[in-house]
């Protein structure tokens, strides 16, 4: 098959990065923006074409028909390696390839990434200017970084092997660093970018060691060798196979010299370590601290990277290795527990934040945790692995409505020049488009029928219910909190009290079309995406399956959401003292939520006091005073010794002669005595 399109999908963003990065300063900002947006539009079209081809063309490389359990014919989506050249070869069979794998989840991710990326590119044309239309300084650089990010993220999702994933994983981390720190003159942005990079780097350490363990035992990096089996008769086509994963476990791990390590199997260790990488990128507790700070970056960047695409990389990673995770349910249980705790924690914190972007950031953490839980509770025997499908479905819908919410927040911030809702209040009349689209986003995330979030969240709750009633109740509570804090945010921004207009000529107003079009588009998607029968596209084993809505679960979650919204409306629709009373009634809880349970302070303590104060500084002192001191001591001793015997050399020639003469006479005498 011709790989030109797929090569272009990766090459165009890379080329744009180099072009705008190297020659950006010679281009006017306008041209740079148009170039970047157009290029991304082309990539989007190519990605849509690829995904459409993959799902609907019926090409034997992409899908096949197999006989299902009950004798019916089932369509199975396959994994097709478009290209896979060797990038780096080691000894033995170990080699790193940089390739392009097309399968159901990567095709889905291609659509998500390019859509959001295109929207953000378009949106930024207007966002990165002030009200007089003057472009921000570094506009070209901004587009270059966006292109770099798109390239890295696309490379990540189409990875054919775990090492390629790691490579692009690092690259998205770096582009995230560059974009968070876009306003590099602001110290807050600089420290936020640094924090994001270092925290995720720490998580990547786990990922790296996990890869090393996995590759040592199996001798390969390729996903195909872990999770898939070749399709007969086709060279580059594979199908997802749980048998391969269990064979890997049985032959490589269970058969090795040390199958267990500290009470857990080595495979579990490897998978948990790899999951640690995912925890870092996807901001799971306790590695979540970077994401709220990452909101220092420009808002469209938050929408693209820190809401829709990069932060779900962790979910994608677990999904990609899912057949392996299924072999070790301990690892999946860890995923579930981490996800569940994070979801609840983030939802709690989101209820008490003032900065609207922080609310959205914690909401993102909570929603990603939903996806993680959904993967963690997925078992093939539970309703045809509904959790996997639900997770990917939620990833898809969440990307759309969360990007919508962030872009809406961007429009608000652009209008009032503040991140805090205290500066907003009652904006619904001034910014109708933003208002309505934001409302749709809130309804979608709260899980109100017929918006997309309802369907995906419902599937997740169904999966949780199948797994354990406790997880179900827990996650339902989180869903209730989600509806509450989102509508708290909504009412505080658009209602509460009348907006105080300081200057009638500069009243807040809707933004120009490049900013409203993405809002409307994403709002439309959020309205209709829920009706997609996602099981036709993505399932844990690639076989199409129709998942029916469980109306009991749906009814309960809908009721819960409506009640939460009602509570939020009661508390925040009109200005009233109820919220303050609530906060006063539970001061401790409010305080902890407001301060995000003091995680940042804890990390500050660990990094500054312990790592800097107790490790780095003593080591530096030790080096200067002990090691170097010893070296200097050698020199000093030699020096001192020389000084002390230096008096012998008086410079008086006749003294030397005396000494010489006496010495010679003595020697002569001794010789004489000895000879006699």
């Amino acid at each position: 098959m011709d790989a030109t399109i797929q090569i272009l999908i990766l090459a165009i963003p890379l080329f744009m990065f180099l072009l705008l990065g190297l020659l950006g300063k010679y281009l006017s900002p306008k041209i740079a923006g148009i170039l970047g947006t157009t290029a991304m539009g082309v990539v989007t079209a190519l990605a849509y074409y690829t995904a459409f081809n993959y799902f609907f063309s019926g090409d034997p490389n992409f899908q096949r028909e197999i006989i299902g359990e009950h004798g019916e014919t089932v369509v199975e989506h396959l994994q097709y390696i478009v290209f896979n050249p060797v990038w780096l070869e080691f000894y033995g069979n170990l080699h790193i390839n940089i390739g392009f794998m097309l399968d159901s989840i990567s095709a889905m991710m291609l659509v998500v990434i390019t859509t959001i990326s295109f929207m953000v590119n378009l949106y930024s044309n207007a966002y990165m200017r002030d009200h007089d239309g003057v472009y921000e300084k570094g506009f070209q650089r901004y587009y270059a970084f966006l292109a770099l990010f798109s390239f890295s993220m696309l490379g990540l999702v189409v990875a054919t092997n775990i090492f390629q994933m790691y490579i692009f994983w690092e690259l998205v981390g770096a582009s995230s660093y560059l974009l968070i720190g876009f306003y590099y003159t602001s110290p807050a942005a600089v420290s936020a970018s640094k924090k994001a990079f270092i925290v995720t780097r720490f998580a990547d350490l786990g990922f790296l060691i996990g890869i090393l363990v996995l590759s040592y035992y199996t001798g390969v990096f390729s996903f195909m060798d872990f999770t898939s089996a070749p399709v007969e008769g086709l060279a580059d086509t594979y199908h997802i196979s749980l048998d391969t994963a269990s064979t890997v476990l049985a032959t490589k791990f269970a058969g090795s010299a040390a199958p267990m390590f500290m009470g857990c199997s080595v495979l579990t260790w490897a998978l948990v370590l790899i999951f640690m990488g995912g925890m870092g990128k996807s901001a799971m507790l306790p590695l979540h601290i970077w994401l709220p700070d990452a909101m220092e970056g420009p808002t469209p960047v938050s929408a693209l990277i820190h809401a829709a695409t990069m932060v779900v990389a962790g979910v994608y990673l677990v999904a990609r290795l899912f057949p392996l995770y299924l072999q070790e349910t301990t690892a999946l249980e860890i995923v579930t527990v981490v996800g569940a705790i994070t979801a609840f924690y983030a939802a709690m914190v989101a209820c008490a934040q003032v900065d609207i972007k922080r609310v959205l950031a914690f909401s993102t953490i909570s929603q990603i945790a939903f996806m993680m839980v959904s993967l963690g509770v997925c078992r093939p025997e539970y309703h045809h692995g509904v959790g996997y499908m639900a997770s990917m479905f939620h990833l898809f819908t969440h990307a759309m409505f969360k990007a919508l919410l962030f872009l809406g927040a961007g429009a608000l911030i652009h209008a009032v020049h503040s991140n805090n809702y205290t500066a907003m209040h009652g904006l619904r009349k001034y910014m109708p488009v933003t208002h309505w689209t934001f409302l749709i986003g809130c309804l979608a995330i709260a899980g109100i029928i017929p918006f997309s979030g309802f369907f995906s969240k419902d599937e997740i709750l169904t999966a949780c219910g199948e797994y354990s009633i406790f997880v179900y109740i827990w996650m339902s509570a989180v869903a209730a909190l989600t509806a509450f804090y989102m509508f708290r945010l909504y009412f505080l921004i658009f209602w509460w009290k009348e907006h105080k207009v300081h200057d009638p000529h500069h009243a807040p107003h809707d933004q120009p079309w490049p900013m409203t079009v993405p809002l409307i588009f994403l709002a439309l998607v959020s309205c209709v995406a829920g009706f997609i029968n996602f099981g036709d596209f993505v399932t844990y084993n690639g076989e199409q399956h129709t998942f029916d809505l469980d109306w009991t679960v749906a009814g309960i979650s809908l009721t819960v959401a409506v009640v939460s919204i009602a509570v939020a409306a009661k508390m925040y629709m009109k200005e009233n003292p109820l919220p303050d009373k609530m906060a006063a009634a539970l001061p401790r809880l409010w305080d902890w939520c407001y301060h995000r349970f003091y995680w940042d302070e804890l990390y500050m303590f660990i990094t500054h006091r312990i790592i800097f104060g107790l490790i780095c500084k003593p080591i530096a002192w030790f080096d200067r005073h002990i090691i170097d001191g010893t070296m200097d001591a050698f020199a000093t001793v030699t020096n001192k010794a020389s000084w002390s015997i230096k008096g012998l050399q008086s410079g008086n020639v006749q003294t030397y002669v005396w000494i010489y003469l006496i010495g010679a006479l003595l020697l002569g005498t001794i010789t004489y005595i000895c000879l006699i």
Binding site: L94, A258, I619, A620
Partner: protein, 506 residues
């Protein structure tokens, strides 16, 4: 003699020396330095291409382009030359750094004397890499060492006399050990030969002698490779040295250490290397994290980079001691990568220092706004240092980690202890610490608000500075993007056959 291509690596610098000596003004000196180093670069690239063609044609000798000319018959000292992939990689590295170093010292004071010593130093470096005769190797090593004293002592900054003396004395101390070890090898291999290839193939150094000579050779070269606890010359020396000397020293001379450790200590005494590796594994493993932690709290840019070099060069020696093909390939990649990267760092630090007249990160800030070109280059160098994919550091580190982990697991699963495994994991941690100190510097130095208003008038890079940094960045990116080409260059040397010949335990 002149039909051997390798001899030109020594002849060209000698001609350059004459050229500089005869030059009338700074323009001529620059012309001589740039032309000469360009010629050396071209020669080494030609050598690379030719070498790969020869290997592709099935040449299997361990060293190619060999030649030997008698020097002092009673002691069987010859000027024997020959190269393999590793030496070629080092020759390319040296010539590129000499080239960029010449650009970086475009406006140095007393250019004639400076370039004379600089070129004399590189004569030693090139001679070291082409020769396969232990005695000649030692001699070239000394030739490379001595000019350093004058270069730092005369053109340096800060506590230059102290640093120059310290650096020279410590390295001389190392070379005393080395001399002892080389003479030991000469007398105990049973051949009375200085030729490395002969000793490796036919020599027979008894086990007890190996156990005595290996540590001395390893420490001797290890001092140059900044192995803990013999690394303290590096921060002071690098901090005081002028730009081009820092570049050449950290970029090339420290590689002499790693190269020598492999070529002499391990290549000739594999048994002892296998048995005594644990001592040096601990020392080099400590170097890796120790250097990184120390770098976290330094405030002088050059000290930060010097400690970072301790960490990265520690990784080179660490990987060599794994005695594992993948890890050793990674070690050579790391030498190449670190050489280019650290030269870039020192060049940039020199350029920034030349403008702001301070190297204290606390006194600078927001340079991105003032000198964007240099700042972007610094960020790229930093990214290479912390191992961003697409730049050279990543490839080298990953190769090392994969190889070391493999060897660590083999040791562990076969009951040879978990030392290698534990230290590999500790070494892996350095990627996080590296990120910490690199981003700390980038954040303080380049980003944030402008710290000192006097800095606002400063200018960005001149064309020669751009040439120097761009060349290095292109090399760093080339290795990072197309690693397979460079690894294939190194691979043949480490092919399992060679290890079998050497009787190395695989």
């Amino acid at each position: 003699m002149f039909d051997n291509i390798l001899i030109y690596f020594v002849l060209i610098p000698l001609i350059m020396l004459a050229g500089v000596a005869l030059s009338q003004n700074i323009k001529q000196i620059r012309a001589v330095a740039v032309t000469g180093s360009l010629a050396l670069t071209a020669l080494s690239v030609y050598l690379l291409v030719d070498y790969l063609a020869l290997r592709a044609a099935g040449e299997t000798a361990p060293m190619l382009y060999t030649g030997s000319w008698q020097w002092f018959a009673p002691l069987n000292i010859n000027l024997a030359v020959g190269v393999d992939g590793i030496s070629i990689a080092m020759l390319i590295l040296s010539s590129i750094i000499l080239l960029t170093g010449s650009f970086a010292s475009w406006t140095i004071a007393q250019p004639k004397a400076f370039f004379l010593w600089l070129i004399l130093l590189s004569t030693g470096v090139f001679g070291f890499f082409i020769t396969i005769d232990l005695f000649a190797m030692f001699m070239f090593y000394e030739v490379a060492l001595i000019p350093m004293y004058l270069l730092i002592g005369v053109w340096g900054s800060g506590k230059k006399n102290y640093s120059a003396m310290k650096l020279t004395l410590m390295l001389m101390g190392g070379s005393a050990f080395l001399m002892l070890s080389l003479i030991g090898i000469y007398y105990n291999s049973g051949l009375f030969s200085w030729n490395i290839v002969e000793i490796a193939q036919d020599g027979n150094i008894s086990h007890s002698w190996q156990m005595f000579l290996f540590p001395m050779a390893f420490v001797g070269f290890g001092v140059l490779g900044a192995m803990f606890p013999f690394h303290t010359w590096s921060p002071d020396g690098h901090a005081s040295a002028p730009t081009a000397v820092s570049m050449l020293h950290a970029g090339v001379l420290m590689k002499l250490g790693g190269y020598g450790c492999f070529r002499v200590a391990i290549y000739l005494m594999p048994q002892a290397a296998n048995e005594l590796a644990w001592i040096f594994l601990i020392l080099t493993g400590i170097s890796v994290v120790y250097g990184a932690f120390s770098a976290c709290v330094q405030t002088d840019l050059k000290y930060i980079n010097a400690y970072s070099s301790v960490s990265h060069c520690g990784l080179v020696l660490f990987a060599i001691l794994m005695l594992n093909t993948t890890a050793m390939t990674g070690a050579i990649m790391q030498m190449l990568s670190h050489g280019l990267m650290t030269a870039l760092f020192f060049a940039l630090i020199g350029m920034i220092y030349g403008r702001t007249h301070t190297r204290d990160v606390r006194e600078m800030g927001g340079l991105m706004k003032i000198m964007p070109y240099l700042a972007v280059c610094y960020v790229i160098a930093g990214m290479a240092s912390l191992g961003l994919p697409g730049l050279s550091g990543f490839v080298a580190e990953m190769t090392i980690f994969i190889g070391s982990f493999e060897q660590g697991m083999i040791d562990f699963l076969h009951g040879h202890g978990s030392l290698r495994l534990v230290f590999t994991i500790i070494a892996c941690c350095s990627i996080v610490i590296t990120a910490v100190y690199i981003l700390r510097v980038v954040g303080k130095l380049l980003l944030g608000p402008v710290q000192d208003d006097h800095h606002r008038q400063l200018t960005d890079a001149t064309w020669w500075e751009r040439t120097a940094t761009a060349t290095l960045i292109i090399c760093v990116a080339a290795i990072g993007c197309f690693p397979n080409f460079f690894e294939s260059l190194i691979k043949f040397t480490f092919s399992p056959d060679i290890f079998k010949v050497l009787g190395m335990i695989q």
